[in-house]
Every structure is written in structure tokens, then in C-alpha cells.
């Protein structure tokens, strides 16, 4: 490579490298170092694994952590089940304008901020909200019904927030399935279920994995939805990180939690890829 070419390449790559370095690598190195420093007295820190030990000895912390992981997997699975028929319809049935309209409809809620969308759910679900009012006026409930501040509300909000990110990669993957391959599946005697299980789902696998990874990461790292819809019962791990950094002002502890959350996402994504037999490369292409 000529020096001039090398310079051009370097200049072209520079913004990406700076972005990666300053906004992702550097803060994480900082957080890693921070998480390994124990507070031994006011403004006195030394190197040690105390912050991580604290996590394992205090049940509230690791239970919240496990709860976040399990609920996120549940939310991802629910989102997948809900998104699959929608994506199938958009990719295989809808044509032309209708297809564009449907994708736009999926996108529309994202034009308002996540906070406002979540507040919208609160208006619907709270004790004095729309659903409670309707249940009372139709005689299905005799007193106001509180539907906020439970796991159901948290899951509902998170699934709603993740749906679009599941639908788009799924629809992309399903669109590339040749119609005659599906017809051949029926022609050779396959039932709807057989065709779905042996032809459609295997074909859509890269899209399923891509969508699941995106939704899982968004869910694990979500903050506003569990706090607003779950209230005190939200118990999301991000709340613990927030509490350490902002309320307790214990940055090293918060940093340790942050690192643990990063490890959790990475391990589950890796396990997901292994289980589905998909490579990271094909999945990234689909996303």
C-alpha cells in the first residue's frame, strides 16, 4: 500500500475509531478499573474484588440480577411469538402500499419518546385509568382495578417496546423465502404446521436470532419502563446501578454492577447463538 493510500484509509477510518475509542472502549476501561477499587474510608480507595463480593453476599442484588435475566428472556420469547405472525403477514401477504403502511404503523410509536409511550400505558392501566373505568362501567369490576406496579405491566411495556426491533429483521428474513419453496412444502404433503416448522422457521432463523439479540439487549438495559410500570416492584437491575451511582454515590459498586450486566448480556447472547447454531456473522448481516 502506498503512503498516500494509507493516509486516506486512516482518515476515512478515523471518525469510526474515535467514536469507538472515546465512547465505548475508554468508558468501559474506566468502569472496569473503577469496579475493582474498594472504598476503605472516606475518599480512600484500594484495589480489590470487594464490590463483586458484595454482589454475591447481598441476596437483593443477585436476586434482582437473576430476575432481570429471566424476565428479559421471557420478554424476548413473548416478543418473538407476537412478532412472528405480524412479520409473516408483512413479508408474505401484504403487497405494495399496504406493506409500507404496516411497517410505518410499527414505526409510528417510536416517533414519541420512550418515556411518553410508557406514560401512555400508565394512563391506560392505572387505578383511575381507561381500562379500569371500562371494566367498572360494563359491570365486570365493582371497584377500581389497579393494573400497574406488577410483573405483568412491566412485561407488557417491555414487549411493546421491543416489538418493532423483532418485526423488522424477521420480515427481512421471511421476505427472501421463495414462494415456490413454501408451495413445494405443501405439494409434497406437508401440513401448515410441518411447513412452518421445517421450512419457514429454519429459513427465518438468522432473522429470529438477530431480532432476539436486539430485543434482549434493549430489555436487559431498559430503565424507564420497569421503573414507571413496575414501581417499587419493578426490581430491574438497571435500577440498582442507578441507585449506586446516583443515590448512594457509590461509583465503584455501580461500576461493578455495570460490568456484571455486560457479562450477563454477552453470556446469554453467546448461549443463544450456540443453541440456534447461528454464526455471529450471518446474524449481523440479517440485523
Amino acid at each position: 500500500m502506498k503512503p498516500a493510500q494509507r493516509l486516506t484509509l486512516f482518515l476515512l477510518l478515523a471518525p469510526a475509531l474515535i467514536w469507538l475509542g472515546l465512547l465505548i472502549v475508554l468508558p468501559h476501561v474506566e468502569i472496569l478499573i473503577l469496579s475493582l477499587s474498594e472504598r476503605v474510608g472516606p475518599r480512600v480507595y484500594r484495589f480489590g474484588l470487594g464490590n463483586y463480593l458484595e454482589f454475591f453476599t447481598e441476596p437483593l442484588y443477585w436476586r434482582t440480577f437473576a430476575r432481570t435475566a429471566i424476565m428479559s428472556i421471557l420478554v424476548t420469547a413473548l416478543t418473538l411469538v407476537l412478532a412472528f405472525p405480524i412479520a409473516l403477514y408483512i413479508a408474505r401477504v401484504a403487497q405494495g402500499r399496504l406493506k409500507a403502511m404496516l411497517l410505518l404503523l410499527c414505526l409510528l410509536p417510536f416517533w414519541v419518546s420512550e418515556l411518553v409511550r410508557t406514560l401512555g400505558w400508565m394512563i391506560l392501566l392505572r387505578e383511575t385509568g381507561l381500562i379500569s373505568y371500562l371494566l367498572q362501567s360494563t359491570g365486570l369490576a365493582s371497584q377500581p382495578v389497579e393494573m400497574l406496579y406488577n410483573d405483568g405491566a412491566v412485561i407488557l411495556g417491555l414487549v411493546y417496546g421491543g416489538l418493532l426491533f423483532m418485526i423488522v429483521p424477521l420480515a427481512n428474513a421471511l421476505e427472501s423465502l421463495e414462494p415456490s419453496v413454501v408451495e413445494a412444502g405443501y405439494d409434497l404433503g406437508g401440513s401448515r404446521w410441518t411447513v412452518l416448522r421445517r421450512i419457514v422457521i429454519p429459513h427465518a432463523m438468522p432473522g429470529i436470532v438477530a431480532g432476539s439479540i436486539i430485543v434482549f439487549m434493549l430489555t436487559v438495559g431498559n430503565f424507564a419502563t420497569p421503573v414507571l410500570l413496575g414501581g417499587k416492584n419493578g426490581l430491574w437491575f438497571t435500577e440498582q446501578i442507578y441507585a449506586q451511582f446516583i443515590t448512594r454515590f457509590n461509583w465503584p459498586q455501580g461500576a461493578a454492577f455495570g460490568m456484571l450486566l455486560l457479562v450477563l448480556s454477552s453470556v446469554i447472547v453467546w448461549a443463544g447463538l450456540r443453541l440456534s447454531g447461528q454464526g455471529l456473522g450471518t446474524t449481523l448481516r440479517q440485523a
Partner: protein
């Protein structure tokens, strides 16, 4: 509505089948029967309705009216996965997510055959189509001809009453296509399965079929053996679509000694067989029916004799032909040039005599 199964001597019967898409009439009142073990082709230009017809037999479309019967049992309302019919798709539509063996075993497993037994039968079928040892391969790792054979094996393993083939040779290159024509015909003969073959390529239909239906604008123009269609076309469409031919328009000039006399628009007068009384007519004569000679005496017995000049020599080995500019004809006459004859070395511009019998020329009302 399903009729009670009854004894039937044919594998497939279509009775007055019509299919409309909105105001468009895709298939217009088509009836035919296919005998067991027959290789039946439907030949027509693209957009003539042949694919719609095939999709109705396979069960992907329902006829607007009429009945489709397989061994006497009505198939109207029976879904595609319940019909004893299997299809080889134009794109072959092999399952890319499965291995070759799994592709062939798929249909058996759908029928509830155990996995081990299905694999054994798939293996045997692959052996019979000459793909022994290919079961573990990915379908993407096969050549065009091998993929073709997998697509056919996948159908034949189910022992269907009828195999439908939708232009399966379209995507192959010329050499392989010629080879597959023969191979398909041999496969059909060994398995003795009824084949219904759809194509726009008249040579595929002529080489492989026992009988051919020529389809145009949603209707069958003529059904017959390849020889019948070639030598005795019943309509001008069949005459021009099946095989090479010379075609001229003219007006009927009545009868002269048992033949139809036609005055061509470009001035020439010819004699042929067919529509005698029609005012406006079309005349067809095959290039191989035209006799060539360098002197007029050897053509003395022919009612149609003309003198022309060679406009072009189209050399193509055994299929070589001449284009001959002739007074009275608006287009040059195309004639087969035998490469073994005395005229094999003829050059452009040379004078030549052409002639043909009245029998060789078909005259139809336009």
C-alpha cells in the same frame, strides 16, 4: 363437493375447466384426459394459461367452474397437500435448509412414515436417479442436472398418480437441456408414472411427449401426437407455433383440380390443401418440404415452382437452411439445405429453383 370414486381408465380428467382472474379469462373451457403412464405435454407461449392450468391440477388454484378428476375422484376443494399429485417447480424449489436426503425424505415423513424407513426409501430413490452417496450433501452444492434429479426424486419417492413438471429445464444451459430431455423421458419410462409437462419450448414437447396439447389464449387449439401436430396442424396457430415454417398471407382464389388456389398479397399464386372458400387465408409450408434444384426440369412435376436467388445461407450443420428471394413473395422462402446434397456449397446470390407439392402447403382461413 366430492363425487363418489368410480372406476376410471384415465389418470387425469379435466372437464370444462375455466379460471377467471377478475375480468381476465386465464383458462377457457378446457377438457382433456391423460391415460396412465402417458407423457402428456401442454405447449404454449408464455401467458397462454398453461401455468394456471397446472396450478389448478396441483391444488394451488381452484377452478372458477368445471371439474378436475384424478382416477375418477373429483379434486375440487381438496387442498394441495392431500392430492396424489406432485409437482416439479420451474425453479425446482428444493429446500435449501435441508440436505439432499432430507429433501427426498420430506414427503414420506409428512405422510407419517418413520424416520429410519423414510431415510432408507430416500436412499433407494437417490440410487435409482443416479445420485448414490449424495444424501448428506447440501442442495446448494449440486450441479444443475443433479438438482433436477433431486426435484424429481422428491416427487417419485411418494409414488404419485401424477407428476406435474412446470418448465423444469428452463434454467439449464443448452447442452444440459438436451441431455435432460432424454434423461427425463427415460426416467418416466422406467417409473411408468404419468407425467404432465408444461413448456413453451416446442422441441422439448416434441421429443418427450406421447401426446401434446397446444394451448393459446386460455384454450386448447389441438391435442395430438407430436407427429399429428407437426404434419397435420388444425389451426394456423398450431402450424406456426410447432416447428419451423414459412408463412404467407393471401386471398383464396377457389378450387383448381382438388387443391386450394391462393393469390398471395405480394402477387405470387400458390396451390395448397385446406380452406378453399375463405376470402382471406394464411399458407404454411415447412422448410424441409421445399425441394431445391439448380435446373427447373427436376421440379417439373410440382404444382408450385418458382425461381429465386439465394439471399442468405444459414449454416447450422444438419439444420442448415437457405433464405431465397423470390418474385411474388414478400418474405424470402426458407428451405432446408441438405449438407450431403449437390447444393451444399451454394453461395449467396446464386440462382436457384424451388418447388413443393400441394399436399405440403396448409391453407387456413385467417
Amino acid at each position: 363437493m366430492r363425487t363418489v370414486p368410480m372406476a376410471s381408465s384415465s389418470d387425469l380428467d379435466l372437464l370444462n375447466v375455466t379460471k377467471r382472474f377478475g375480468s381476465h379469462l386465464a383458462v377457457n373451457d378446457v377438457s382433456f384426459s391423460v391415460a396412465p403412464g402417458e407423457f402428456f405435454s401442454i405447449l404454449g407461449p408464455s401467458g397462454c394459461g398453461k401455468t394456471t392450468l397446472m396450478r389448478m391440477i396441483a391444488g394451488f388454484e381452484e377452478p372458477t367452474s368445471g371439474d378436475i378428476r384424478i382416477r375418477g375422484t373429483s379434486m375440487v376443494g381438496v387442498p394441495a397437500n392431500r392430492r396424489p399429485v406432485n409437482m416439479v417447480f420451474q425453479s425446482l424449489a428444493l429446500f435449501p435448509m435441508m440436505s439432499v436426503g432430507e429433501n427426498v425424505a420430506y414427503g414420506l415423513i409428512c405422510r407419517g412414515v418413520g424416520r429410519a424407513e423414510a431415510e432408507r426409501r430416500a436412499m433407494l430413490m437417490l440410487e435409482r436417479v443416479g445420485l448414490k452417496g449424495f444424501a448428506e450433501r447440501r442442495v446448494t452444492a449440486l450441479s444443475g442436472g443433479q438438482r433436477q434429479r433431486v426435484a424429481i426424486a422428491r416427487c417419485l419417492v411418494l409414488e404419485p398418480t401424477l407428476v406435474l413438471l412446470d418448465e423444469p429445464l428452463g434454467a439449464l444451459d443448452l447442452k444440459l437441456r438436451e441431455h435432460m430431455k432424454i434423461e427425463l423421458k427415460q426416467l418416466q419410462a422406467t417409473f411408468n408414472t404419468t407425467f404432465v409437462y408444461i413448456t413453451h419450448d416446442q422441441s422439448e414437447a416434441l421429443v418427450m411427449s406421447d401426446r401434446i396439447a397446444v394451448m393459446n389464449q386460455g384454450r386448447f387449439e389441438q391435442v395430438g401426437s407430436p407427429r399429428e401436430l407437426y404434419h397435420n396442424p388444425m389451426t394456423p396457430f398450431v402450424a406456426s407455433f410447432v416447428g419451423e415454417t414459412n408463412r404467407w398471407a393471401g386471398e383464396g382464389g377457389g378450387e383448381a383440380s382438388g387443391t386450394a388456389k391462393v393469390k398471395l398479397a405480394s402477387g405470387g399464386v400458390v396451390q395448397g390443401m385446406g380452406a378453399v372458400s375463405a376470402k382471406s387465408v394464411l399458407c404454411f409450408v415447412r422448410p424441409e418440404a421445399i425441394a431445391l434444384s439448380s435446373d427447373v426440369t427436376s421440379l417439373q412435376a410440382l404444382p408450385n415452382r418458382f425461381e429465386g436467388r439465394v439471399a442468405a445461407v444459414l449454416f447450422d450443420g444438419a439444420n442448415s437452411s437457405l433464405l431465397i428471394d423470390t418474385a411474388g413473395f414478400d418474405q424470402p422462402i426458407r428451405a432446408v439445405l441438405p449438407q450431403a446434397g449437390p447444393l451444399a456449397g451454394i453461395e449467396v446470390g446464386a440462382p436457384i429453383h424451388v418447388g413443393w407439392t400441394a399436399d405440403a402447403m396448409k391453407v387456413f382461413a385467417a
